[in-house]
Symmetry: C2
Subunit: 322 residues, 2 copies
Amino acid sequence: MLDLVALGEPLVQFNAVTEGPLRYVTYFEKHSAGSEANVCVAVSKLGLRSGLITRLGNDEFGFFIYEWLRGQGVDVSRIRFDPERPTGIYFVQRSYPVPGVSTVLYYRKGSAASALSPSDLDEGYIADSRVFHTTSITMAISDSAREAVVKGIEIAHRRNVMVSFDVNIRRLLWPSIEDAVKAVEGVLRNVNVLFLDENEAELLLGTKDPQVVFREVEARFGISRVILKMGIKGSVARWDGETVNSKAFQVPVKDPIGAGDAYAGVFLASVLKGLPPSRAIVRASAAAAMVVMVRGDEENLPREQDLEVFLRNYGLSDVELR
Amino acid sequence: MLDLVALGEPLVQFNAVTEGPLRYVTYFEKHSAGSEANVCVAVSKLGLRSGLITRLGNDEFGFFIYEWLRGQGVDVSRIRFDPERPTGIYFVQRSYPVPGVSTVLYYRKGSAASALSPSDLDEGYIADSRVFHTTSITMAISDSAREAVVKGIEIAHRRNVMVSFDVNIRRLLWPSIEDAVKAVEGVLRNVNVLFLDENEAELLLGTKDPQVVFREVEARFGISRVILKMGIKGSVARWDGETVNSKAFQVPVKDPIGAGDAYAGVFLASVLKGLPPSRAIVRASAAAAMVVMVRGDEENLPREQDLEVFLRNYGLSDVELR
């Protein structure tokens, strides 16, 4: 039995060691990344059991991700190696032209994970977990991967597994923004926990006002657990009728990619551990701040003791929060 | 008027900073590479004028290659940027499992250069050059690129431009070795200068005996200028009835990729400069040795003064060769 099972594409991230346009960067640092994989590692680092359903290329980069995830304690028993297609990769350009903002260059078209399909889903594996998590990124990589997402959510819903969905619209991956919105709307009826940011709220609901967002999401899709991320302004969540919020922790930003995954993973792990949403949201905000301090998405994901030290530094230790 | 016009795909090379399986390599170093681009740079560094016909992605990696080639003095006026497709890239794994041998992992499927087609060929540009150079790598990347190679060779042949062809069979890029052989055989009738190694001779002609290779290539394809590369054993060339040879220079090998391109580029540049084949082959061998001493294919390509210093160190200075 796993606490969280995720479905999505892990990628090798090549992060620019120096800032500025990639054409002038000489050295690139290799990391294991990918939204759902990041969430698995976040959950595993907090002592819970996670597993990732995916496909990797039968190549050195696939072996790297497989061994990395296994090393982080993620269950890799449902990872398949594709003999034909390569492992997806991407490059990160940091702080150009906007300071603190990263942009990405994908080489994931035709990747192993783009061949994900409903056949990769083991119903027992999903049914025997507490949370099934995925994102619209996986819906964007191919038609068959989108079908896998739809089917995975459907299985989890039918088997009474909590369905967590991070909207995570990546414009580079969709033919048009309308396609993205349509795909997301198509699955929300079976979602129990929804993560989205202000831009995504605007796209999906035409508003970024938290109270309107919560009301609309509940009215239109029946979701009573919604987390709205507002960047520098912090985040606010509606959780079974209760509204909680957290500031965003101010830290030196090396690379903001991965913040949302750290947030989702730590939020989910915290509620799975029985913590109230008021604490989950603060812990999630702290984790998001921690990962943007380094290149790579997963290395700075906190263990419990690191999270405690981080929060204590801000006068928000567990003791005070209790 | 250019001395050499080449047709082919430049790629960004990410070379492992440390040796061993790529899964354990953390840092990668960016270089501009690609067989025909390497030849252009080799020719340009020796003071002649070269130009590359190709397509690059309209992205940071495309800009990098464009600016790099322009910086090396290569004419980039026939490079087109593709708004849809990315610049091709590849990774180099060094010294695993065989010491001194590198292996590559390509991300070039669907690259900008794979959209090369006969429409990229400016007949006047080719006709106004002294040598047209390409390889079977470019024939392997797509049907349209193969058509461009066939057409480019046909134009050069018809306009009395010397056609140079480096067999350069890359097994990873062909559906089968038979496809590669068939494609190469299809263009050899219009080739004037042929570079090949022992494996390629065996594949194309069923022999690696130099005299038989020369005889067969002349008999079957009418090519009287053939250079056979024999790795550690050196190389031997037949040039208009004269046979010349050179040892391979023993140097510390960091990454052997690019040696063949350095060889072809310096051989061609040398004969274009009016040097006899007996000197061209020694200079080409020296250049091949020089580029394997560093990561990257183009950085150690010699200027005239560097070549002179290298050869003098081996007791083979220009003075003694004359």
